[in-house]
Amino acid sequence: MHALEFEGVSKSFAEKNVIRDISFSVEKGEIFGLLGPNGAGKTTLIRLLLDIIKPDSGEIRVFGGSLGSAAKDRIGYLPEERGLYRKTKLLDMLIYLAQLKNVPKKKAHASAESLLKSLELYEHREKRVEELSKGMQQKIQFLSSIIHDPELIILDEPFSGLDPVSTKTVEDKILEYRNEGRTVILSTHMMEQAQKLCDRILMLNKGQRVLYGTVSGIRKEHGKNSLHVEFAEKRSLNLIREIQGIRKITEHDRSVEIFPEEGISAQAVLQELIRRAEILRFEQAFPSLNEIFIETVESASGE
């Protein structure tokens, strides 16, 4: 069963198209990435799926039907614009937000306490939100989106403002939820996290669908025989510029990434390289999601 389906959905605000004829589906139990540059329409898409705003045309099905009150209770949402009651005590606020998802008060209390403990925030439970550090507020916000044990979790930029340790905690939580069979929709422009965590992605640009499919499939599809090469000596870099048939070279920390011209095989490049320098590592690689992202957006704006 699809956890979520969009069929030809469009939405415009004040004569400006924000979402244009979008169709996709999210399978149950996967981590689904919603990618795109700022202003691509990711947040609008999420608001449409949560029935906060209505589509102009098209159909949206959540858990196989239109989104009713009961279905809303099975969704957890972390909005990009974080918002909490600043003057309410943590525990009270979490209980209230859980109650709004129809969790009975006692159960809400218990799960709020155990979640606070698991994120090492239990000692702050009687504090007000405004007394917490920014990072703690972020964690509380994340916590408030999962307190009612949702089946579908929608996270809009969950990593922004988190330190590496907290980022790791949130990543682990996301994977844990997927392994429990829950569905996670991850909207982000942090491509590293998306590549690492997502099973499938939808990429939007200017309200249109530009990429859609499994992460490995998209990378393979966009693979341009790029080669990762690591030299023993850094100065060897200049030598490879003389090699014929190389379209582009990108320098990374320890290695370079070589993009051969069309029709030039990896083997041919390797032979040329071996003649000129000592090589520690040679690896045929798919482009990262990040490169595909930049390339797609740039080619779209060049049109």
């Binding site: 608001r47 949560l50 906060i52 705003i53 009150s69 809303k72 209770d73 969704i75 949402y77 909005p79 614009e81 974080r82 918002g83 909490l84 009651y85 600043r86 309410t88 209230y96 937000l97 109650q99 709004l100 998802k101 129809n102 408030s144 989106s145």
Partner: protein, 417 residues
């Protein structure tokens, strides 16, 4: 409004509990009666203490015709349960003004009077007081002297009743002629009931309506400003949120006005000689509920459209001013409750709760006018709620520039689809 769902009640409960813990709410609700009590009790206390001091006043009668009594007791005047305390003035006769001055300087007397020889022509009596020393109850003394003068001039030459009439020529009594031709005496209690009480009730109504709907405005604007709105809307529909807030804060306002009215009924009945008809209380509760619904829904719409708390309060101020209009014209409404302006104000939904309540307190208002006012208010409430829930839906998540009136109207129409 949608049917009451469980989530509506959760929102209502949360808003109620959150507001009841607010310091401003507790202060307004409980300090206000104390202030009111202060107004009722403290002036009589003060009035009861100051002039009650007994004093001696010297006099030099140059006409030699005045018959000063040795003592004069004045009753004093004060409102309240403490009653008046009588003060006594002792009159001491002196032959020469130098003697009197010495006595004044030595503190034997607090002041002295000189009745000049030409008193009959001029009517002048001079009062000399030391700069320090107790103040002389001038008004009371003047009345007392008038009586002494009348006595001295007329005693023996006219009859006693005539003497009394000269001292106190007219006693005005006011009567109201009721619809059934029965007339009733109008005392100070009646005047307070007819003018003071409607004003007080209207004032309380105005304040409770605006403090409760003010909380609503603030709540919505804050939730929008700190962006928790989006989290809330992923759990509840805008109309569930709106209804829950209106219910929760309506209960708060009701609690407040019940506390206030109880103070007026029980406390006021004790401190002031007034009685409040149960019907007036009942009508004021009805007008509170309707007035609150009207303004609260409007405030919710304003909170949804504007971007920040400050901005929303500015816009809301315009509407609050409209509602305060009857308070400004209160004297007019109370003295001419059947004029067309008063009738208009009591029908116009922005002003009807306060204006109608004042009119009912001041005079008999035809039943059809009350019914019409309630009906108009009811219809307006419905319109405002429909309008506000649309604004709520469209604007809750929009930030940045405040939309223009035309755009709002367009979206309201579109929101109906």
């Amino acid at each position: 409004m949608s049917k009451l769902s469980g989530k509506t009640l959760i929102v209502a409960r949360y808003e109620f509990l959150k507001t009841i813990k607010r310091k401003e709410f507790l202060f307004m609700t409980f300090a206000f009666p104390l202030i009111l009590a202060g107004i009722a009790f403290i002036p009589p206390l003060l009035a009861g203490t100051t002039p009650a001091e007994d004093q001696s006043i010297g006099y030099i009668d140059m006409t030699d015709s005045f018959d000063f009594p040795e003592f004069s007791t004045s009753e004093g005047f004060s409102v309240g349960p403490l009653g008046a305390k009588a003060s006594t003035i002792e009159f001491v006769k002196y032959e020469e003004s130098s003697e009197a001055r010495k006595a004044l300087q030595s503190g034997q007397i607090s002041s002295y009077l000189i009745v000049p020889e030409d008193f009959l022509e001029t009517g002048v009596i001079e009062l000399y007081t030391s700069e320090k020393g107790t103040p002389v109850p001038g008004a009371e003394l003047s009345t007392e002297l008038s009586n002494i003068a009348i006595d001295s001039l007329l005693k023996g030459s006219v009859d006693e009743p005539v003497l009394q009439r000269v001292k106190n020529p007219v006693n005005m009594k006011l009567y109201n002629v009721g619809d059934n031709g029965e007339s009733s005496e109008q005392g100070i209690a009646e005047i307070l009931t007819n003018f003071g009480l409607p004003f007080l009730m209207a004032f309380l109504l105005f304040f409770s309506i605006f403090s409760a709907s003010g909380y609503l405005l603030r709540g919505v604007a804050e939730e929008k400003e700190n962006r928790i709105m989006e989290v809330l809307l992923s759990s509840v529909t805008p109309s569930e949120l709106l209804t829950g807030k209106v219910l929760g804060l309506g209960a708060i306002g009701l609690l407040q006005i019940v506390v206030w009215l109880s103070v007026v009924v029980f406390g006021g009945g004790y401190a002031l000689p007034v009685k409040i008809e149960p019907m007036l209380l009942f009508i004021s509760l009805i007008y509170f509920l309707l007035g609150f619904l009207f303004f609260a829904s409007m405030m919710a719409g304003i909170g949804a459209v504007t971007g920040s708390l400050q901005e929303s309060q500015q816009v809301a101020g315009i509407f609050t001013f409209a509602a305060a209009f009857p308070l400004v014209f209160m004297q007019f409404i109370l003295t001419k409750p059947d004029s067309s302006l008063a009738i208009f104000l009591s029908l116009f939904p922005f002003t009807s709760p306060v204006a109608m309540l004042s009119r009912i307190g001041a005079s008999e208002v035809p039943l059809y006018q009350i019914a019409a006012s309630l009906f108009i208010l009811f219809v307006s409430i419905h319109a405002v709620i429909v309008l506000s829930s649309r604004l709520f839906r469209v604007y809750l998540l929009m930030y940045g520039k405040r939309p223009g009136v035309n755009e709002i109207l367009k979206n309201v129409r579109a929101g109906g689809r």
